[in-house]
Symmetry: C2
Amino acid sequence: MQTKEPIEIAIIEDQQTYGQTLKEVINETSGLHCSRVYANGESAIQDVPKRSLDIILVDIGLPGISGIECIRQLKEQIPKIQFMVITISEDDEKVFAALAAGAASYLLKGTGMAKIAESIKELYDGGSPMSAPIARKLVHFFQQSTKLRKNPNIDLLTKREKEVLELLAKGLMYKQIAGKLFISLETVKSHCHNIYEKLHISNKTEAVIKYYKKTQ
Amino acid sequence: MQTKEPIEIAIIEDQQTYGQTLKEVINETSGLHCSRVYANGESAIQDVPKRSLDIILVDIGLPGISGIECIRQLKEQIPKIQFMVITISEDDEKVFAALAAGAASYLLKGTGMAKIAESIKELYDGGSPMSAPIARKLVHFFQQSTKLRKNPNIDLLTKREKEVLELLAKGLMYKQIAGKLFISLETVKSHCHNIYEKLHISNKTEAVIKYYKKTQ
DNA sequence: GTTCTATCCCCCATTTGTTGGGTTTTTATG
DNA sequence: CATAAAAACCCAACAAATGGGGGATAGAAC
């Protein structure tokens, strides 16, 4: 069981002490192996493509090129490498930028070393370990982005009208909607007319815009 | 330290044995207290508003009203209650529906009891504990939803065509676009025709949809 | 019983999309 | 620089889709 290949790890961290500690802890953990600690993004971008790595731990507050930019570039070149951010900053902007850049895990500094080692394994096994507040941020983001009910007008629509709106938003023509709902073209027109009135708009395009805007 | 109020928990779970085990484990954990196990969504919806609860664990595969619907209704009535889904299903549809309905935590059945107890505390403290594959799904969703700006077709558009598309996406009519860009209606038509061809679509509405799909 | 919803119909104007021309300006490139 | 290609612009005529204004009917909901 101990004989299989260890997970190959590198670290990008400008604070020598912390980076060194991380490296030591990783190398003391069975199944994990860390060969390199890069002190900045530039050297990592230079060197990483020459190595065969599974996971890279990145601090995002680096001098010079930011950890986020570093992830973006390396992820594009070598998509199979997974990135774990380990940092102090937990402001939304950084978190979302890091994830958008390709990070799959985000831990706050302060996380215990044992937990970090465990998280590395979890990441390798297809998870996305997050510190508690980060996970919550993600869930919030998701909930916002799916919350369709921001538009109070939309509640004024009847069931049927909502159905029609959905289909409009898929790009169907009146004729196709009629076919799909087994009603006549005239009925579709009526429904749309009512929809437009209730939403205070005047055509299909605006309806679609309204529909997609609320999904923001 | 042990003197503060315990976290008040209820469970919605149709499988008696599992529900009972959960309850017992919770009540054996210091700081946690579970008074009720509801066997279905209906009874929970009836009774929960009368209690003062912090967290509800929900199985989504319930007879009758689904756990997801149950969360939606209760969350609307009492937003401060936090929901933790504990279920076997890990298909995207269920996961996303549950989170959209208001769940803040999602664990797969199979998670150890100790881990569940720990996760309850984490949830109460503002985290969003997720089983590994669920967390990864969320991250993927996020990355997709921010990344879709890679519609290669859109790069085929000329500068002017992009301008026109922008205005289409704002809901302007051809006539208005013509006015705004100081060109004739016929020119707008031409541009649109070319846009539709390049994007492999056939009308304004689809253009707007494509536009909004890529930008967010 | 009145109101709301869903369905259908007609007529007519407007908007949009297609086809098939053009001209001029800009850009690329040999 | 010359010239070809691409982009931006314009026109017309027609077809299709859309939107507005009238209706009307049946059934459900209140």
